[in-house]
Amino acid sequence: MMDINNGDEEEFEFSRNYFLAKESSGKKSTRKISDIHLVDEQELRAAVAKIEPKHEKETIALVNSYKKLYPRWVFELRCGFGLLMYGFGSKKALIESFASTALAEYPVVVINGYLQSINLKQVMITLAEVWWDQLKTRQRTSSRILQKVQQPFNSRSVDDLLAFLDKSEAEENDSFICVVIHNIDGPGLRDSESQQYLARIASCSNIRTIATVDHVNAPLLWDKKMVHTQFNWYWHHVPTYAPYKVEGIFFPLILAHSNTSQSAKTAAIVLQSLTPNAQSVFKILAEYQRSHPEEEGMPFDNLYTISRERFLVSSQVTLNSHLTEFKDHELVKTRRRSDGQDCLYIPLTNDSLEKLLSEINQ
């Protein structure tokens, strides 16, 4: 998720111009988010937890209306397709209700793609074990294959595991494991390697996939080979309008996360615990940064000279001890300027800096 969000700023600029040409962007507001009177983060989180759902009755009716499609979905799975559910709203409850009622005959393994990291090798081992149990219960076939499998699954290679899951038995082909993947476009699965593994799992003859996507660009995750020959998607549009409760757990709240007032506040708290001299040194740096917004930072020698002039430090050693303190609290950072000189800067935006200065000056 993060690399999609933060990366390729330039590329974004490029496509932006194209779309802007089509849209009338009109007036552009320059209001700051700090102008909103933001409530405390804890209070905000408590309020988020208390949000009441709207249209509860109608959404329940909507989700229930999908229930009569369950037999069709099972039919499609049995035909060999993978089901891909999309539409606004969390589809987690819907799919799990489908799996636990209509797919009771088949073993079901669920992958929570909205989580940050998922070990697909572990998933494959579990799938192999589940399939193994399935084979064992069907005693007719067991004797033959049982002998071939000696190694425990967790020491086998991915290729072996997939080959085991792909092994077809002529006797009964209406037997398979269902793999439910919530958010196959989720942050933990969004890289191409994971998608390749998932595609290989999905293409095994003993596996059927039921996946959900929420991102509008989810289809870009797959090439034609994956779509047509491996996943074999059968699309279903099933908006639920259910809140993305678990799916949204790892998303920062936009009004609580690292925005100006919040970071200024924490910085102020740290600064106030330092000595007045240290605070004054910090102010010098802050003033410099405000008056030279285009520069990359303040050279150390510069800071030392001014601090010494104002009798804030007596030697470089004392200044260094202040700076160490700042750096430990991430109030100040160093970076190399284009001329090769190391310089100091405060990792805050100008707005936050202003707020911070006004707060410690009180």
């Binding site: 209001r31 905000l44 005959e105 998922i118």
Partner: protein
């Protein structure tokens, strides 16, 4: 299944342990229930259902719809249709495979001969001595013996996915000759795994071991030991262009060093041109290759062959309607472009047909077994009277008056089959005629399916027949019919082509027609008649030519000859028009066609092409339509506070450019959700339901924290759907709109 029905009553059946599972990366939801017997026990359910169903005969169509869905729950009945699908689809699938294999078999044989010759050449360089063969490093020889024979297979198709099967089949073909074959793909040549990746795959396929240390000497040892020395090792790489050039170069250099000990022959699929090789590999690697070129059939050839075998000829009995055919053609021509997706669309259509059309199961038994008894048996899980009722209620039969019994149904279906065969025959004849004009069978197929032009065609012939009962139609009628053919259509074009054919080609065309029309004696005779005429003229002209040779110039005979052949092709063209008019009755004009024909193009499109980019936005913008709530019907463009928060936010975002000022966005959101305090009271009067009252009175006491929380949650939801991005460091006060416009 019965539990599914029961679950409808309780709103959301969530087991308590599921919440804990939410934070597990993965977990086993449940094992297979031991109730495999479910299917069998449903027999009893079936009998119960039968009793339930009998009074349904009087029910309205609406009720019938509900019941149809409901009926899907019955296992026995579903299994019958599942069975039918499996048998029909496996038939189609194997037909497609056969068709493709037959198309490629020429090239495959050519490749196989070349592999054989190359292997002999490698052997002629000598065989390594015993100590040479057993040492774990390559034998250094002169440059010529370091060449790797490389077959470059030009696929003439940018879509490598269509050729995956081709290379798989090629592998099988070569394996059947006793060669050691390994199929590698571009995924094996990735930067990440380096040369180890392809070696691992190679060893896995040939030596059948998975080792941690990947060493080609393992392969050399295996090749010596197993008595494998009599056959070459063939390595097939699907898609040259997608391989990492560096890894592929290393691989080729390694093979060239070992080629004396392991006679490897490379085969690579090339989607573009031979230049690709030069672009991918450096020159020092290129001169290790001894290339040979092979060319596969073009995608359009394959498409024609598939359409012919699966859709035109009676392959499985399953058919598609005109709209579906046009959609599939357009999807192939202008969207996806792969035959693989065309086949997949066909499979989805087939699955939908059997899952939605209650009578689809008849297709399998009846069309293949040709026995009226099959219909009457109760082996469909559907009582006979219901079956009849359904059949006579099909739109294609609804208005016809006839006795409603099994005989009528049986005759109807036989007629359907007969007309279908005739239709196919004529279509094949038209394709034969259009071939020299490069008319695609798929285009002809779509046009011939069109029920509207079809009605015109057929009714015109009827008129013609009334006037002139002798089957050979008069010139006048023919002209009328000609006008009714779709002007500029493909069929029309093909017929025009016939008219201009020179004698020789006409003869081949007629021979083709003779083959196709065996089942329609009426046409078959005419074709034969025409053929004898042409042949006669042919031999006559041959004689004349001989005479002319001796006494030149004899321009009069030449003129005469031309006139003769012109007359023959004119006759052939008229015959073609006659065939089209009389025998090409589109499927959708025939009674009971619903049993075999899939027509629901919207359903197919929805299943084949999900359109999340548009649909998710529509979900947000028009949510009140989907959710069917009475309170949010939009009055003009006003946003109501009762609407879904994300919906309000998304609608508000439309007013911004690509950057949304968070402050403004928040303020307008706040305004919308607070706006109800006065409007809400106003609305209260005519919405007395307690729920709405709750919604409308609540906002008055909304705290700032609650509003900010709802704002945050809505932003998160829009972020999950990918419609907006979080503010970047450079622009902390702006969220970015990623999706602009539907």
């Amino acid at each position: 299944m019965t539990t599914a029905a029961a679950a409808t009553d309780s709103p959301t059946p969530v087991a308590p342990d599921i919440t804990e599972n939410n934070l597990q990366p993965f977990f086993v939801l449940h094992q297979a229930s031991s109730q495999k017997s479910n299917k069998k026990s449903s027999r009893t359910a079936k009998t119960r259902r039968r009793i339930d169903l009998s009074p349904s005969l009087t029910k309205s169509v609406e009720n019938l719809e509900v019941e149809k869905a409901d009926e899907g729950v019955d296992h026995g009945y579903v299994n019958k249709r599942m069975e039918a699908f499996e048998s029909v689809w496996s038939k189609m699938e194997s037909t497609i495979k056969d068709v493709l294999r037959n198309l490629n078999i020429g090239v495959f044989n050519e490749i196989q001969r070349w592999v054989h010759e190359s292997f002999n050449t490698i052997k002629s360089f000598g065989t390594p001595s015993f100590p040479e063969a057993t040492q774990p490093f390559p034998v250094v020889k002169d440059a010529t013996s370091k060449q790797v024979f490389t077959g470059l297979v030009l696929t003439k198709n940018m879509e490598f996915v269509d050729d995956l099967l081709t290379f798989e089949e090629l592998g099988l073909h070569l394996k059947s000759q006793g060669y050691h074959v390994a199929n590698l793909s571009s995924l094996d040549f990735s930067v990440k795994n380096g040369i180890g990746g392809c070696l691992r795959s190679l060893l896995r396929q040939l030596v059948m071991v998975t080792l941690d240390a990947h060493d080609i000497s393992v392969l050399a040892t295996w090749y010596r030991e197993q008595g494998n020395c009599n056959n070459p090792v063939v390595i097939i790489i699907d898609d040259l262009e997608r391989c990492c050039g560096k890894v592929l170069s290393d691989f080729i250099i390694m093979l060239s060093e070992w080629v004396f000990k392991i006679p490897v022959i490379l085969i690579m699929g090339v989607a573009t041109t031979l230049d690709a090789l030069r672009n991918t590999l450096p020159s020092n690697v290129l001169h290790h290759l001894c290339p040979c070129k092979f060319i596969l059939g073009s995608p359009s050839e394959r498409m024609d062959a598939i359409v012919k075998a699966v859709l035109v000829k009676q392959c499985s009995g399953f058919r598609i309607g005109h709209k579906v055919a046009v959609f599939m053609r357009n999807y192939f021509v202008s969207q996806d472009g792969t035959i693989t997706s065309f086949i997949r669309a066909l499979k989805i259509a087939c699955a939908q047909h059997f899952s939605m059309e209650p009578l689809s199961f008849i297709l399998l038994r009846f069309l293949l077994e040709e026995d009226s008894q099959v219909l009457q048996g109760e082996n469909y899980g559907l009582p006979p009277e219901v079956l009849l009722e359904r059949a006579f209620d099909l739109p294609s039969y609804r208005n016809k008056i006839a006795e409603r019994n099994f005989d009528t149904l049986f005759h109807g279906l036989s007629e359907l089959k007969k007309l279908q065969n005739q239709w196919s025959t004529v279509l094949l004849c038209m394709h034969e005629a259009g071939k020299c004009d490069k008319i695609q069978l798929l285009d002809l197929f779509c046009e011939a399916l069109d029920p509207e032009s079809g009605i015109l065609r057929v009714s015109d012939t009827r008129k013609g027949l009334q006037k002139d009962s002798t089957v050979s139609p008069s010139n006048k009628d023919m002209h009328k019919k000609y006008a009714s053919l779709q002007k500029g259509g493909f069929i029309c074009q093909a017929i025009r082509k016939v008219r201009d054919l020179p004698a020789m080609q006409l003869c081949t065309l007629l021979k083709g027609w003779e083959k196709h029309t065996v089942d329609i004696p009426e046409i078959h005779d005419k074709v034969k008649e025409l053929l004898s005429l042409v042949k006669f003229e042919d031999s006559k002209s041959l004689k004349r030519d001989l005479i002319e040779m001796s006494k030149r110039p004899a321009s009069w005979s030449h003129l005469n000859l031309e006139k003769d052949s012109k007359a023959a092709s004119e006759k052939a063209a008229r015959l073609a028009e006659f065939m089209v008019g009389k025998y090409m009755q589109p499927l959708e004009c025939i009674a009971f066609h619903e049993v075999v024909c899939f027509k629901n193009v919207d359903k197919l499109q929805a299943a084949l092409i999900g359109d999340p980019r548009r649909r998710i936005q529509v979900d947000l913008l028009e949510f009140h339509n989907i959710i069917q709530c009475s309170c949010c019907r939009r009055h003009g463009n006003t946003l109501l506070p009762s609407m879904h928060d994300s919906s309000i936010m998304h609608t508000l975002a439309q007013e911004h450019g690509d950057l949304i000022n968070l402050h403004d966005w928040y303020q307008s959101f706040k305004m919308v959700i607070l706006s109800s305090s006065d409007k809400g009271k106003h609305r209260l009067k005519h919405s007395p339901s307690p729920k709405k009252r709750k919604v409308t009175t609540e906002p008055a006491k909304l705290s700032e924290a609650a509003i900010q929380a709802r704002f945050c949650k809505a932003v998160t939801e829009l972020q999950i759907t990918g419609i907006i991005r979080m503010p970047s460091k450079r622009r902390p006060d702006y969220a970015q709109r990623v999706v602009l416009g539907l």
